[in-house]
Symmetry: C2
Subunit: 205 residues, 2 copies
Amino acid sequence: MAATKRAPAGAAVLRGDITAAIRNAVMNELAEVGYGRLSIEAVARRAGVGKTAVYRRWSNKLEMVLEIVSGVAERSVPMPDTGSFATDLQLTMFIVSKALQHRIASQIIPDLMAEAARNPKIAETLHRALRTHQTAVGETIVGQAVARGELPEGTDPGIAVDLMIGPLYWHLAVTRTPIDEDYLEKMANAVTAALKAAPAGPPAP
Amino acid sequence: MAATKRAPAGAAVLRGDITAAIRNAVMNELAEVGYGRLSIEAVARRAGVGKTAVYRRWSNKLEMVLEIVSGVAERSVPMPDTGSFATDLQLTMFIVSKALQHRIASQIIPDLMAEAARNPKIAETLHRALRTHQTAVGETIVGQAVARGELPEGTDPGIAVDLMIGPLYWHLAVTRTPIDEDYLEKMANAVTAALKAAPAGPPAP
């Protein structure tokens, strides 16, 4: 299919509904066939657009997949600011637990993790997508809690993020075990106790 | 290559060195090409044996991969019994952190997680391999600590396992971030504080 690469004169605007349809098609193709077998042709077909519509937005498969998955990963954990550490923590863990039951956590991220070992660009983007935003969330929640006197000075936001997300990720996405009704409350209490008791030590001399 | 299918008369014993070579070849093939593209032919070639040698041990690819990966996952976390909860915990977290830097955690398990969404048998075996042994380790460490009075009665071993493994898995295997020198000590202190403060509540009435 010899699609015209050149956009019509003056038409630099990309239609949002087409972009949304392509994003949706990419997520569905990733879930069904995985990164290795995903093709631009199949994405375009599923979105009901020509391949040109895809190439107008992203220059190749790798760039397209990484931009779309990073976006979803970031939007899935919003920045809470409820005025209380306990509530910020419970809210974040609740949202994370919901996000982790989505196929992006149990299927798409694992698939990209496996590809990452063969492709340093995927490794780097995945690292950035999963780490940067989560670190910002951790720094904000912990910073606010320290300012309000709810957590000790020097509480490590990195430890906080790992404690907020890690147990849920392991339990839900890796071992695929449903959580009991009181699990989130128990885990939020445990994480609070962990952070109250374990401020960062002084920097090594 | 036409390997003789019939074993020598009376020879039901499988040679351990050949089994080890095949196991090794399976792990290497999984890391290189992933489950979907792994073939018995390539495994046999890499192990330097005939396909018959593989089929004498496992009846198909799925059974072979699941048995080998489950075995490695179980052996990678031994049961500690040092006489002190703090030391049991530090030792377990140290071993887990080493195991998680192995390609089985960053590559092979993610690959099987992605396959699991398409294949319930993989999902079930992975769930069992990752959950059963780890639960037993958690129950033993926590049980010993409760008996010694180091943790409160009713401490939840499931919460303990998720706290011991989850943050390390998230940090090392998912976000692929190296850990700082003092990370394990800080995290072990945090987990101890979490468990001391958070015994299981009474069952809901």
